[in-house]
Homo-oligomer: 214 residues x 2
């Protein structure tokens, strides 16, 4: 496992994409694939694919390519998908509901055990059989249940206090949709989905293109 | 503008973060800031900040630092935020509604002009004064209105056909939330928000940490 330390975030962020394409191949009953064929589908060069995968072991076979099922199994294991995760969502607005309703997460092994919101009109409502609880119950809930991941979907102003409760109760991973950089003292893994940063990347690229073609 | 071509995506993806922090400084009436102080807030090294910003011009002044308002104005302009964008959202499910309801986008200059959905129960409903139209009207709408950006929030199975309509009508930027890599023939800028890829990056990092501390 020591090898992992050296792997760049760029490689890590490509892994889920491999996983997605390998699932597609499985769905189409494709048993094996060369790095060249995979390259045509996924849009990375064959050499990039070989380099990326070599970070984690010796997966391909010269003249045979990759066994799709084996490679998917290995990538799933590298991505930590060989076991389940108990998750809670804090904030049952549009984003929280979108995450709660995304059945693909369930198939990948993410088990939604509770949703919390501050709005009394939402408390008690069920989303996919999971009842929305009052946010005041979050601390107790975390003390009495093993939760692996917390998904923060509250407004920016409340995100840090929710984060503090998660961290104080030993939640090890936070998926943060609030447009703020959370402070955790470094013990917790945080993955941000900052939508406006994504949108501004788009406008930057759009303007670059315009300026180059004008 | 020729300089822009050489700028790495890593730098580009940091720009919106600078923008967010500079807005915060403005809100707190801070007029100027050194790269060292900015570094403490934003979490990049001072040298990284200087390097990043130097890609776009000579913004800081030795012994003075950065003028917050000027730098924000310049970054906004680099990000293409010196003019407005007409946007349409296709798919009025949770994600589409989240984007439609995100008032920050409005403040940044993104004007939502129409929302489309296939579900007759949603058609006619208003989100922030914008009525949801039938998706069959999308093509006509694009022919009769100047639309800069399309936000694709439909399920994976319909995303490519929606994308085709946007591209055929000259929409130049697509913000794609469907878990699929869209094909456009290369003329259009696509920015993906692939939520499951973000979540799997989180589990990867979580497992790395566990394996390193076990």
């Amino acid at each position: 496992m020591e090898k992992k330390k050296e792997i760049s975030m760029a490689v890590i962020r490509r892994l889920p994409k491999y996983q997605r394409y390998l699932y597609e191949l499985m769905r189409h009953d494709i048993d094996r694939i060369s790095s060249k064929e995979l390259s045509e589908k996924i849009g990375f060069t064959a050499s990039q694919i070989r380099q990326d995968l070599n970070n984690f072991g010796d997966f391909g076979q010269q003249g045979y390519g990759y066994n799709v099922k084996d490679l998917l199994g290995k990538i799933n294991s590298i991505l930590g998908l060989d076991h389940e995760y108990n998750i809670v969502i804090i904030g049952a607005g549009n984003i929280g509901q979108a995450v709660a309703n995304y059945t693909k997460f369930d198939r990948l092994g993410f088990k939604l055990s509770a949703i919390f919101d501050v709005n009394p009109k939402l408390v008690g409502i069920k989303i996919r059989d999971v009842k929305i609880k009052d946010i005041d119950e979050l601390d107790d809930y975390l003390k009495n249940n093993k939760v692996d991941l917390g998904v923060i979907c509250v407004p920016k102003s409340n995100a840090q206090s929710v984060c503090d409760i998660l961290v104080a109760n030993g939640v090890e991973g936070i998926w943060n949709f609030a447009p703020i950089d959370l402070e955790t003292g470094g013990k917790v893994i945080i993955e941000n989905v900052h939508l406006s940063e994504s949108l501004l990347t788009l406008t930057y690229l759009l303007n670059c293109q315009k300026n180059n073609t004008d």
